[in-house]
């Protein structure tokens, strides 16, 4: 096989592995951004965080929110809830960033997978 073509195909294979791992990291982060509270399930995202911040700025100390199933969930302490979800948001996104950067810096299939030779 022509050397240039072989290199191009190797690169395509590397990109495919990279894409699969980026996809998997995203799935993991999305799962970790699901948050249970008072029997409801919330997806932590910028929209939820902004809405909670809006409630606090307008002096709502408690509120009823719709969870991811559109079920009403009463939140007795909006400030504490905002703190919880924000903390989780940054924990997850920081881990995701670390994983993402490690993957992006990996220049071969072996380094993406961190493969060690089997004995």
């Amino acid at each position: 096989m022509e050397e240039r073509l072989q290199k191009a195909l190797e690169f395509a294979n590397y990109r495919q592995t990279l894409n699969a791992h980026l996809h998997k990291s995203k799935i993991k982060a999305e799962t970790l951004l699901m948050f249970s509270k008072n029997g409801g399930n919330f997806i932590i995202n910028e929209q939820l965080i902004c809405f909670l911040d809006y409630l606090i700025r307008n002096e709502y100390s408690e509120a009823t929110l719709l969870d991811s199933n559109k079920a009403p969930i009463h939140i007795a302490d909006v400030s504490a809830f905002l703190k919880e979800v924000t903390m989780r948001y940054f924990e997850v996104t920081n881990d995701y960033l670390n994983e993402y950067q490690t993957l992006r810096k990996s220049r071969s299939v072996r380094s993406i997978l961190d493969i060690k030779d089997k004995e």
Binding site: Q16, T17, A20, M34, S36, I115
Partner: protein, 295 residues
Amino acid sequence: MSRGVLMYAHNNTEIDYFKIACANALLVKKNLNVPVTLVTDTGTLDWGRKDLGEEFVLSCFDNILEIDRDYSFKNTRNFFDTSYNSKSLQFYNCNHWTAYELSPYDETLFIDVDYLIMSKSLSNCWGSNNEVMINHSILSPLDIKAPYSKVIDDMGIRLYWATVIYFRKSSLAEHLFTLVKHVQENYSYYKDLFYFANGMFRNDNAFSIAVHMLNGFSEEEPAIHELPINGLMMVWDTNDIYDVNGINDITLYAEKTEKGNYILVRIKDTDVHIMNKWAINRFSDKLISLYKEVV
């Protein structure tokens, strides 16, 4: 409120479900930190005790419920070990409807033994307002793979995966399992009604029909919601395990769209359904020795 995981393991002539259940019970204890109950039959349990030792078996499970196996139940399926090898074997799955009655817990996570618990994600279920949760959404470890059928048949009712079911002791959960039993007992009728492709009994089909009925034969305002995860990670039986790297860390051979063309994918801290039972059997000992150290 008692909480725990329930699993069923019934060996056939080649697949050691019991050993997979032992490995997964250790994963559950490490990641979810809840008790595990196993439903099994005498033959499977005797084999497991002989193979792994009584003491080890007791350390994996908090309860072992020994039930009578119905040897008249015949359900043959092809068990694939990658795209290159498959074997037609018995698949004993006719008693999942008993989970409601057999579970000793107020809140139960009923999981297939091959759904490896490698994260804390399912802890989000505990204390849920939903009495039953089961997933329609699934995910593939490969972004390029068109993953699955979203419906059980051409009639178009939604496919739910009985791989993981959360239920709280409640009338809704009881109704669900009663309906599953009904569907199973009348499977040939439902097979014709919904034009299932083959005659093998699948719990996924039975639960999908039962959920459809409980949702009022509609998908508009479902009574039964999905689990608080963004989908079940499915690794089909055409794939294989490359290695178990460590705690909650597995590398897979994932088949791309063409037969025999694999890509390596490393799964970390993510629950995963590995449908190639042979592959898990090959790595059960390694999983057990790794997790025994940390549980």
